[in-house]
Symmetry: C2
Subunit: 397 residues, 2 copies
């Protein structure tokens, strides 16, 4: 507690955020957030909450009435789905092909439920055949949980097929769409997904701190039929919906993060202005540009083409290169943040995010240019001078 | 989902926040929050986290190493304390003298623990004699939980005495300091309190969304000796401390609410600039001014003088007056938000907050002036013209 001088105001460095999130936040969103705080029961604020709900329904492509942001980060949204749907003794089938599937299993077990694990190698998608077999072998399973877009590996799994398999067996689904929402199609109603959660700091390009969640009719029914109260008061949807539910009369549950909700509102307004399909197309195009540049340089992507996430590119670190040193140089020279590998992939990949406002030709070009310079100085076996023309050809054909 | 016109940017009305929180946020804090987002593992951000920790230690008057903001509102901080310290089968003595004591009991029960309730009337403090008796009658109790500053009633309980009683019996304490921190003394080390949580949107005058928490050595020991994992992954301090813990190497747990932490940092820098004792004195002085004005007008405070919170004034609604109508007029005319009564006190009191940046002579005066005008028009039996001179005499002697 003893300090020699007082702590002064903090001023962050300027960055280009190209890691696994947060992504760059647009000045409009930052400005929206900095508007004066109002009360969480103020009529004007309640009107804004209704708009946030409607905008989230559009982003999730759902008509689900229970659609709202949980007042915490993505892991709070994940936990909210599990603690509201699971009871002790239940069985849940959990697909693990990266960090976030592992976290799902933790959640299941902390609910006193049994986790039946379907494993796939990190860097590959969830195998629907294994899921079908697990569903068949566990006829009493209450739910199937999987990650649509694995942030730790850059893999997209086939959410439509996995939801269909669960639905055919009358099993609920929990889908992690933290990194997918706004970047690739998340079609909650079309998939018949039951509970889906996301995060604000990825392809929505809002600040971190909120977790949009949507519950379909079967999930709401399961919630209403619980035998006992859930283990969390803070995340209990049967209470929170009295605050986020429709109408002018709201019951106080907790003090909503008012200014962060201003920010989410503005980021969703911007998404609507661009158009959801246009945002998906932009993410795809930036990915193609980055990929062309990386491959021209001689680098390769970890994930097979048909399950690559455009918004999160896992790039294999060339042999003999200290990956942390590269990230450190990118940050200190260019203010450009890249992500490290996690768990089994630590030291083996970089994670290059092209999410939301970080999915622009400027970001792609700065990243390729910087990587080439840094890797060349480290004598990595790369092709010099090829990346930027290759990317440019794709970005501006 | 069908709307006739697109949703446009939200612009909140200007308010003077004099309810039970959020309180007015200083432009410096709003500006700090609107700075560009950086990564949650960025070295610059990690440096700022260390400063936030040090500043929270100063605010809490503690040397506790485990001192950090939980990434959620006060109710997440409350839940974090209970789920980290309680295990199924434990017994907790819970003091209930308002809404938040009731919520503590909910937390205890959802942990699978037994709650022994010590009840006191809403509007009165926790009775130390009853607590002493409960401690004696329950020698196996693991912890004592109480609310230092009951936001629902405006009552201060004697935290020093309650913590001492628990300590004498070797019982841990959980103290709710949501509304007290920064407004009246919260002396964690002097009290020997074991686990204390607060909120950012009360006397710290930061935006809502974070919950500062501190765990003393006995709480840390209890955490380390758990028989089983806690029921919450998101709130598991044995994991979160690997991110908030000292040193440059941080383990990712969840994406921290980066911009809200900028805001908290700035609000704590401002608190240090003012000086904690000066902030306490300012809250006390504004309360004296408000009280003088209210009493001169003929209104009375619910709570007895020796347990009144300066930062939250429960004012008895005169007979025959529609309290909601008064609040509605105060909001629409003057942009001034007052709080309603909750639970047993709904319809019977207003809650007038003088918290943080809302504890100024301007706020006191606007509130008294507006109340007098509105009540006079509603033909309430008040003294006209007496409030403002009485307040002024106290505020500017």
């Amino acid at each position: 507690m003893s300090r020699n001088q007082p702590i002064s105001s903090f001023h962050p460095p300027r960055r280009m955020l190209m890691g696994p999130g947060p992504s760059d936040v647009h000045p409009r969103v930052l400005a929206a957030m900095a508007q004066p705080t109002v009360g969480h029961l103020d009529p004007a604020f309640i009107g804004m909450m209704d708009e946030v709900k409607a905008l989230l329904q559009l982003a999730f492509r759902t008509g689900n009435e229970l659609t709202m942001p949980v007042s915490g980060p993505g892991s709070a949204g994940m936990e909210a789905c599990f603690v509201n749907l699971l009871e002790p003794g239940d069985t849940a089938i959990v697909c693990i092909n990266g960090v976030f599937g592992t976290r799902m299993r933790e959640n299941v077990e902390r609910c006193g439920a049994k986790a039946v694990v379907v494993e796939d190698a990190w860097g590959t998608p969830v195998d629907p055949d294994k899921v079908a077999a697990a569903l068949k072998a566990n006829p009493g399973a209450k739910l199937l949980a999987f990650v649509h877009a694995e942030t730790s590996t850059g893999v997209r799994s086939d959410a439509a097929t996995l939801c269909k398999l669960a639905r055919e067996r009358g099993v609920l689904t929990i889908v992690d769409a933290v990194t997918s929402l706004g970047g690739i199609p998340v079609l909650v109603d079309e998939w018949n997904a039951d509970a889906v959660y996301s995060g604000t700091q990825k392809c929505l390009s809002c600040v971190p701190g909120l977790s949009p969640v949507t519950f379909g009719p079967r999930a709401v029914e399961a919630l209403s039929k619980r035998k006992a109260k859930g283990q969390s008061w803070f995340l209990d949807f049967s209470l929170i919906t009295a605050y986020w539910g429709g109408g002018a009369k709201r019951a106080y549950h907790h003090t909503a993060p008012v200014n962060t909700l201003y920010a989410l509102h503005e980021s969703l307004v911007m998404l609507e202005e661009e158009g959801l399909e246009n945002a998906w197309a932009r993410h795809a195009r930036m990915h193609e540009g980055l990929k062309a540049g990386l491959e021209a340089m001689g680098l390769s992507l970890l994930v097979a083409p048909d399950s690559r996430l455009p918004q999160l590119n896992a790039v294999t670190v060339p042999a003999g290169i200290d990956e942390a040193q590269v990230r450190s140089q990118m940050l200190s020279r260019y203010g450009l943040e890249l992500g490290a590998g996690l768990g089994a992939l630590a030291g083996k990949i970089w994670r290059i995010g092209l999410m939301g406002q970080s999915a622009t030709p400027g970001h792609v070009t700065a990243c390729l240019g910087g990587l080439e310079a840094v890797l060349a100085e480290m004598k990595a076996p790369i092709e010099i001078g090829a990346a930027l023309p290759a990317a440019s050809k794709v970005l501006f054909p």
